[in-house]
Amino acid sequence: MSKKAGWYERINPVVRGIPPSGIRKFFDMVTEMKGVISLGVGEPDFVTPWHIREGCIYSLEKGYTMYTSNQGLLELREEIVRDLDISYSVTYDARREILITVGVSEGLDLAIRALVSPGDEVLIPEPSYVSYAPTTTLAGGVPVTMPTTVENDFRLTAEIVEKRITPRTKILLLCYPNNPTGAVLRRRDMLEIAEVVRHHDLIVISDEIYDKLTYVGSHTCFPSIPGMQDRTVLLNGFSKAYAMTGWRIGYAAANPYFIEAMNKIHQYGILCAPITAQMAALEALKNGRDGMVRMVQQYNRRRHMVMQSFKEMGLHCFEPGGAFYAFPDIIPTGLAAEEFAERLLREEKVAVIPGNAFGPSGEGFVRCSYAASMEDLGEAFRRMTSFVRRSGVRPKTVVNL
């Protein structure tokens, strides 16, 4: 680091002010070690289904290597519209209301940049995925976090939202099913939140990347709540449901004004999402449903197994209704989240992510991804159990009534 040359000071102060990701530090530690079982991975352990990969190879053979329109292949947009209609009965115009993005990450950035003026406040539930607040800050907005608690199953309620609203509040960000907690919102929660949104005339950005991975009840797509579609930017993609993380392909659905504004930024910054990934996404939507359902079924079995393991271990873990994460309460071990994760890694070679990497309200919890094989999960939980035992936690006697 040649700080002397003054390069560091010449970096945009906004960028300088963004703290480094809490995960990256941990990443460096893990990569040095051998024999680690990682429950720290935020992506499916399945490889993209073969028919999707094969579809992409075929498209390459056919010479599909050119740009697409800025908005993305119309055929793909039409399939997305069809999927949204079938899954949630929400209707979008493929020509004017859908934009294909480079993952939900780009969609989020576009939505925030297109809508946030300097000083505008963006309400963000917490704990949540690491990029919402920095993206807001980079756009000149002010992230206002809304801590959720385990007592409330990490659900966001209308009351929590209402409390944080100021005259500068412009956007409410929703991210359910939630990473890292696995929390889902009930339709009733959404209806109540929608009431607040309407009352304060807010715009909603709803990141629903884990929608298909819902195990308890069925997912409610926020735009399907009466009156919400027009004021919501729906973000989704293919990474989780179709195990396509590395393809970097997602989409945004919103009213034509928002999409046009987002497309302006997108056309200069990105031009278009890679055509190979778009072709693969098309194949996923056309023929991927059965494979996706099978993967979801497997996640659900693992989820049951993980819940049982925590119970036997003596750590309380609220039942996650979606995504592929469990978020156990590690306070009984007497360790802070980072300490727990670091020692578990050093002593038992199991990687989990400290909850506070997802915001201060994640302190006292760790995120365990169950996107891992049954064998790995079994071994990881055996190791974790002996670690937790050493810290003096005993399982509560289970009384069968």
Binding site: I23, F27, V41, G42, E43, V130, R301, I353, A357
Partner: protein, 159 residues
């Protein structure tokens, strides 16, 4: 019920308690259901898929197309039965297309297999013709890729 069968089909060694946890069922209930499925022959047998080459065991297998004359009242069934009773025969299926039965045979040597086809199979009354295809290499069997080199290439930690 179907999910339970799904699980056992992919791994017959899962214990009843493991299955109970995965499907969020009672262990007693799982045991009862499996017993019932075994009794009514929905579950026929628990099989281990072995790669015999790994222990130096040379086996020869062949797929034999068999054309037969169907018989009054029983159709193809009687001839099929005479064939599938032989222990050398691993599987027998009635197929649509240019031949009738697809018969899979396993033996120690090519000679042994050919001998079986010549003396036992083709001499059965009602068998019109046979065409033998020896297996040169198995890539995938019962849904399992024999030499699968796909591994977990994910980063160990990601948000």
């Amino acid at each position: 019920m179907k999910e339970l069968l799904d699980l056992l089909e992919s791994n017959a060694r899962l214990t009843e308690s493991e299955i109970a946890v995965m499907l969020k069922m009672d262990e007693e209930e799982v045991r009862g259901r499996i017993r019932e499925l075994e009794r009514n022959k929905t579950i026929l047998r628990y099989i281990t898929l072995v790669n015999w080459e790994k222990v130096g065991e040379e086996k020869v297998s062949a797929m034999i197309e068999v054309r037969i004359t169907p018989q009054r009242d029983v159709g193809f069934d009687a001839v099929a039965e005479r064939i599938y009773r032989f222990p050398e025969v691993r599987s027998v299926r009635l197929l649509s297309g240019t031949y009738d039965l697809g018969v899979f045979i396993e033996g120690r040597t090519m000679k042994e297999v050919s001998h079986f086809v010549a003396t036992k199979l083709s001499t059965i009354d009602g068998v019109i013709s046979t065409t033998t295809h020896f297996v040169l290499k198995t890539y995938k069997q019962d849904g399992v890729i024999i030499e699968d080199d796909e591994e977990d290439r994910r980063l160990v930690v990601s948000p």
